[in-house]
């Protein structure tokens, strides 16, 4: 997925999220957490500040919530502490990318090892 596609998914998702909050049949429901489709799963994590992180993965992958929490920690550490990051532009922080790939690799190894 390149930058434009990611931006498209993000904006689509933002509106769907707002609509789903109103339409939800169960009371007290705050957000969509998981979207299951034939070829992929989409997991969402929403922080206390309203920042949404989502992961597109193969159907049936486990422990995505833990991975999302780890990614959120990486985001706060490497992106928000970076003086050269301006909000609302796509993230281009080297350290964030390195640590993100490491976290995903570790996750993949853990899953395959099981």
């Amino acid at each position: 997925m390149d930058t434009n596609d990611s931006l498209r998914v993000a904006s689509l998702w933002h509106s769907m999220h707002a609509i789903s909050q109103q339409l939800s049949p169960t009371t007290g429901c705050s957000e969509i957490e998981l979207l299951e489709a034939d070829t992929f799963d989409l997991h969402i994590f929403q922080s206390l500040t309203g920042t949404k992180l989502f992961v597109v993965c193969e159907p049936g992958t486990q422990h995505m919530e833990a991975l999302l929490k780890v990614i959120y920690e990486l985001y706060t550490d490497y992106v928000l502490n970076n003086p050269f990051y301006e909000t609302k532009i796509p993230i281009r922080c080297e350290l964030f990318d390195i640590n993100l790939t490491q976290a995903i690799q570790k996750d993949r190894v853990a899953l395959l090892g099981r």
Binding site: D77, N81, N82, P83, F84, R92, C93, L95
Partner: protein, 194 residues
């Protein structure tokens, strides 16, 4: 009456002994503050070398104060007169107090007599900072270079201190080296002292 603890009351607040203070500060809080410092200075300058100069000046003030404090606390009000003495002071004591560990290494430059290098795998101030490609050779370690300069100059060893990235094979992130170039008079004095 159950024995009340006797706390010595000092008549004059200036007589109270200086406490060591809290040894630890939150890393995130510092990273955030440093990031704001860099951002603020970015709005005030026109080019990268001015930004580095500003960070160095900020560090200089810290270095001057750290020297006074450490001389009083850790060295019992003795001051260093020899070059190697002050360098090892910076390399171990100052680094320990500021960053919680001794610097990785202290080397003498091979090309020039007056150059020394303190190198570190990753400076604490740079831990969360990724420099965008278009900023070229800019190094946030200029702040630490300023601290070292403040310590050295106020101890009587005027020097020019800069921070550089040195790429290392086998590691994705380059090492950081603080290059210290002493002034002429320091070398002459050192030669005289023998």
């Amino acid at each position: 009456m159950i024995g009340t603890g006797k706390i010595k009351q000092y008549a004059n607040v200036l007589d109270k002994p200086l406490g060591k203070g809290k040894q630890e500060v939150s890393l995130s809080a510092f990273a955030f503050l440093f990031s704001e410092l860099v951002q603020y200075n970015q709005t005030q300058v026109d080019n990268i070398s001015e930004l580095e100069t500003r960070l160095e000046d900020a560090g200089y003030a810290v270095g001057a104060r750290v020297l006074e404090l450490l001389c009083h606390r850790d060295k019992g009000n003795r001051r260093e007169t020899r070059l190697l003495g002050i360098l090892s002071f910076v390399h171990s004591t100052v680094w320990k107090v500021l960053f919680g560990k001794v610097a990785d290494s202290l080397e003498k430059g091979t090309e020039h007599e007056d150059e020394y290098m303190i190198s570190e795998k990753e400076l604490l101030v740079n831990r969360f900072i990724s420099i965008p490609k278009d900023m070229g050779t800019f190094h946030c370690g200029a702040f630490v270079a300023g601290i070292v300069k403040g310590v050295l100059e106020n101890a009587g060893f005027p020097a020019v201190v800069t921070a550089h990235f040195v790429p290392v094979e086998g590691q994705q992130r380059p090492r950081t080296t603080i290059l210290i170039k002493f002034a002429e008079e320091v070398l002459r004095r050192e030669a005289r002292l023998g």
